[in-house]
């Protein structure tokens, strides 16, 4: 009480002030405008030309202006701070650019092709060069093949990860498996396709079919699921396992009822990453499934009368081939339409997975 009663004004305390000189908030947009104007001037008066050069030059000018002025006014620390803030932001924007461009371009090119008819009809008895036809058969094929691969790979991958983290930890065998999982993550999709071709079709004598494609997809998906589930299980605190053991809960039940529910959000996300990874795979499907114009619900279909399932990636590939570089042609339109549908399906599945992960656990 006595302290607050003392007058506030008085002799200023000696020592360095806490306040420094700072640039006003409008300085930053000011620099940007100045940089653009200067570059415009330069482009108008000298021989410099080109859009890309313009952007790069303006950006460099902006960084230089800001850093130098800040150095003069605010001092070295603030100048460095501003420089790195700008660099990090620019790097982020550059990394984002291709993503945004792909989505934007696909929407722009593909939106025109999308219609009720396009989504609900196949290409059966449609002349590819004429308008009409659709991708229903490809959507059906992609969903069935991906679902089959996921239904097999998800339990297998999660169980393998449980072995690696809960049972094998530190053992030589587990370390070897872990290493091979890493190697498998980098297996090119065409190699997975070749392997299934040699194993399933040449050695075992089966026909090309949607299921053969699923087998290759599951090989590609498995390491993604194992790796992500492993990471998720590792971050479940050991305290929880011990708490469960101390209650007299057996190990398998501890894993099932305590460890897995705690990690379920991450595990579901990992499985979805795997799904997203395989849904657009083309090479193994071209090799193992082939191309069909008809709707085929049976993933095991694969005879002369029953041609194997179509899928979205192979449909896109086929239509691009038919378009032969003609951007006004019907096949070209259909390819972009199918690409857009593929992206939308992957996006929807990711959103659903996030919802599931959110409702799968009790929230605080």
């Amino acid at each position: 009480m006595a302290v607050s009663a003392e007058p506030r004004t008085g002799v200023p305390t000696p020592g360095p002030s806490l306040r420094g000189r700072t640039l006003p908030t409008y300085a930053l947009p000011g620099f940007a405008v100045a940089a653009v104007l200067l570059t415009l001037l330069l482009w108008a008066t000298t021989g410099f030309a080109g859009r890309a050069g313009f952007v790069v030059f303006a950006l460099l000018l902006f960084v230089a202006l800001q850093t130098l002025v800040s150095f003069g006014v605010e001092g070295r620390r603030q100048a460095v701070n501003r420089l790195f803030t700008t660099l990090v932001t620019v790097a982020f924007l550059i990394a984002l650019t291709p993503l945004v461009l792909i989505v934007w371009y696909t929407v722009k090119e593909g939106a025109g092709a999308i219609s009720d008819h396009f989504l609900t009809h196949s290409m059966f008895r449609v002349d590819p060069s004429e308008p009409g036809g659709g991708i229903y058969h490809a959507i059906v094929g992609t969903l069935i093949q991906t679902a089959l691969a996921t239904v097999i790979a998800a339990p297998l991958g999660v169980l393998a990860a449980i072995y690696l983290v809960e049972y094998g930890a530190g053992r030589r065998f587990a370390r070897a498996v872990s290493f091979f999982v890493d190697v498998m993550t980098g297996v090119p999709s065409i190699v997975a396709g070749l392997f299934i071709y040699a194993f399933w079709i040449l050695a075992l004598g089966f026909q090309k079919s949607g299921f053969a494609g699923s087998l290759a997809l599951l090989i590609l998906m498995l390491p993604v699921i194992i790796r992500s589930t492993e990471e998720m299980l590792k971050i479940v605190p050991n305290d929880l396992r011990e708490a469960s053991y101390a209650l007299g809960v057996p190990k398998w039940r501890t894993i099932l009822r305590v460890v897995l529910p705690t990690a379920i959000g991450g595990i579901v996300t990992g499985i979805m990453l795997g799904v997203a990874r395989i849904m657009g795979e083309t090479a193994p499907l071209l090799l193992l499934v082939g191309i069909n114009q008809r709707i085929e619900f049976n993933p095991f279909a694969g005879t002369a009368e029953q041609v194997p399932q179509e899928s979205l990636p192979t449909f896109i590939f086929e239509q691009f081939q038919l378009a032969a570089g003609n951007t006004d042609s019907e096949p070209f339109q259909r390819a972009w339409g199918a690409a857009l549908v593929l992206i939308v399906i992957i996006g929807l599945l990711s959103a659903v997975a996030r919802l599931i992960a959110r409702f799968a656990r009790v929230r605080g």
Binding site: D239, L240, R241, A243, Y245, A246, V249, R257, T262, G364
Partner: protein, 258 residues
């Protein structure tokens, strides 16, 4: 209901490192036994061997005999899961299961161990939470997540969870070290209530706490870094804190430990 524990000639190892050497002691039923001693002296390690939680750590093993009412808990056909059902444990850091509600946390031991009759769980939850002095605070929000409680409440929830499976012995590994004085007092009161029915062993760094809550006190020490920890002395708490027979115990208790 409460059982006694007889420890004789126990050596405890982490891999090749001998962490504790030659511990022998008797833990009386229906009493509170406190383990005190400097960090690294092996008191938590000894505590964890009493319900076979020690062996959860890869490479850890125990030599010697630990008898629970005359039965060797390290006997050849003894299931560690059954040992842990009989000897419950409360940890240093409150660790309620984050995916479960308060209600489910309390019955987690019963439910996960696989023998519940649905009709009895409500009873068990109320009884355990009352025993842990938490019932009044949480009875209106049993469906809320256990992780949403305060630290002290979480620790009492963990105690409720431990006693819901009706163990014979309750081991507590520094149960108050992460709590404020008021929560600590609540837990200490709880310990005095529980000792009528359970055998309680508590590890603590707080000597006032040991003096307040325990009937018997065991002092552990180690001769130097890298040496195994040893049991220096075990006696009635009053004697340990007023007139210990070992010079090193006296040095530690009076703060002259070097």
């Amino acid at each position: 209901m409460a059982k006694s524990i007889d420890v004789s000639g126990v050596d405890i190892f982490y891999g090749t490192f001998k962490a504790v050497e030659d511990v022998s002691m008797t833990i009386e039923p229906r009493s509170v036994t406190a383990f005190i001693g400097p960090s690294g002296c092996g008191k938590s390690t000894v505590l964890r061997t009493l319900n076979r939680m020690h062996e959860v750590i890869p490479g850890a093993r125990v030599e010697g005999k630990i008898l629970l009412d005359g039965e060797d808990i390290y006997g050849s056909n003894v299931d560690p899961v059954n040992v842990r059902r009989t000897i419950g444990m409360v940890f240093q850091k409150p660790n309620p299961f984050p995916t479960m509600s308060i209600y489910d946390n309390v019955i987690a031991g019963l439910k996960l161990a696989g023998h519940t009759r649905r009709t009895k769980t409500d009873e068990v939850v109320e009884k355990s939470l009352r025993a842990a002095n938490l019932w009044e605070e949480v009875k209106d929000r049993l469906g809320k997540p256990g992780a949403g409680l305060s630290g002290g409440q979480q620790q009492r929830l963990c105690i409720a969870r431990a006693i819901a499976v009706e163990p014979q012995v309750l081991l507590m590994d520094e149960p108050c070290s992460a709590l404020d004085p008021i929560s600590t007092l609540a837990i200490e009161d709880l310990i005095s209530d529980l000792k009528d029915r359970y055998t309680i062993v508590i590890v603590t760094h707080n000597m006032q706490q040991a003096a307040r809550v325990s009937d018997r006190t065991a002092f552990f020490n180690l001769n130097g870094t890298g040496q195994p920890g040893r049991l220096v002395e075990m006696d009635d708490t009053q004697k340990i804190f007023s007139n210990p027979s070992n010079k090193r115990t006296e040095d530690y208790i009076t703060g002259r430990f070097g």
